[in-house]
Amino acid sequence: MDMKRNFLRGLLLAFSLVAVGGFATVARAEDEAPDALIKRLSVDILATIKADKAIRSGDIGRIVALVDDRVLPNVNFQRMTASAVGPAWRQATPEQQKRLQDEFKILLVRTYAGALAQVTDQTIAMKPMRGSGDDKEVVVRTEIKGNGDPIQLDYRLEKTPGQGPGWKIYNLNVLGVWLVETYRSQFAQEINAKGLDGLIDTLAERNKSNATSKKG
């Protein structure tokens, strides 16, 4: 009797596992899990950099191309820019919003491309996620391990059902410092002093001087 009950319970368990597994596979076929997406991207980019001599010798153009090609399709850059600009974003014309996004993107890609050029034998380790499976926004936490202390690298992602892998990055955290938050008061300062166009000009000037100083 006991054996029979155990057998039935086992069968039931097996069935439910298959069912849950099946659903999970269906969900993944459309939308990737956010931590799986980050892991796939990180592993892919670290491997590409390691294999590419031009990048490792500091060819900024190639790194920018890599970031454009592999990273940016998975980033909601409009949300990042809007969040850094703050309440003034809503008063910006579509033209101003576009220019803000473009200049901010160049600034970030160019300055952080330099950090990517330093990659040698680093690997990525995923840390446990907090929150439940059906959150609309999640934090994926990782660590870059190489020689020296591990580097904390976290991402905020939003759910974008049916779009690409189903998630987009909208903020990035290096060593405990969120990128968007670090720009918020700098942007506010510029807007307070010189208005939205002043901020756009400052960003454009900075990009111009970065471009010339890195060529030399």
């Binding site: 969040s83 300055t111 952080y112 202390d149 405990g176 700098q186 100083s213 890195k214």
Partner: protein, 236 residues
């Protein structure tokens, strides 16, 4: 050393008296912004004129293994004070790791110059008394930029005399040796941040705000072990 610190503070106050102005849009965490900006400007000038060139020279003339050894040596001294503070915070695992690191690195690691403990996967958990006060529940207080020493929160400035007294770098010998060790530590630390400094140079619209906002976030992150509670974020 503390006397030197006082002298530096006095220098900072003097710089401030020369150049303090009111700030148009004050930030809650930085009520002393105008004074801080003056000291930051002073530090930046010293950095450009002296510290950065010296650090770059140090990097150019010393081999990697030597700089690594110097960094490890100072880290090992710091791990002793980390062990005490992890203990004060009631963190047994972290205290144990720190003690284990000091024991292993001071012996097999040739007086701390080789970081054997990290190769054995004994993690580093740096902690000072400012962090201990934070974990005991004391708020960070306003942001403060100290001459030469750079960004702090007021809580950390309060803990600084104790942190300095407990710094084993102070016990290395007579005052000349201690001053020499302090300068070497400063140059070595600056040399480690040469590339990071260049990133800030390129990425920041206003280096002062960039440094402040990054520093305050980083300290908060540290206090909560890399997992701080969400702040009331403002998103449009």
């Amino acid at each position: 050393m503390q006397l030197t610190g006082l002298r530096l503070l006095a220098a900072g106050v003097f710089v401030c008296l020369q150049g303090c102005a009111t700030v148009a849009h004050p930030v809650a965490s930085d009520p002393w912004e105008s004074m801080n900006r003056s000291v930051y400007g002073f530090n930046d000038a010293v950095d450009r004129a002296v510290l950065k060139p010296v650090a770059a020279g140090y990097r150019a003339v010393t081999p990697d293994w030597l700089r690594k050894g110097v960094g490890n040596f100072f880290n090992n001294l710091q791990d002793v004070w980390s062990a005490v503070n992890n203990g004060l915070q009631g963190r047994g695992q972290e205290m144990g790791d720190s003690i284990g690191r000091v024991v292993v690195n001071s012996t097999i690691g040739l007086l701390g110059t080789v970081d054997v403990a990290s190769s054995l996967n004994i993690d580093r958990h740096t902690a000072d008394f400012g962090l201990t006060l934070g974990r005991w529940g004391m708020g960070p207080g306003p942001y403060v930029v100290l001459p030469i020493l750079g960004p702090y929160t007021l809580r950390e400035v309060g803990a600084l005399p104790l942190d300095w007294k407990a710094d084993l770098t102070q016990q290395l010998g007579n005052s000349d040796t201690v001053t020499g060790a302090f300068v070497l530590k400063l140059v070595d630390t600056r040399a480690q941040y040469l590339q990071a400094g260049d990133v800030v140079e390129g990425a920041a619209l206003d280096k002062y705000s960039f440094t402040r906002d990054a520093y305050l976030q980083r300290q908060r992150n540290r206090q909560y072990d890399g997992n701080p509670p969400e702040e009331d974020g403002v998103e449009p």
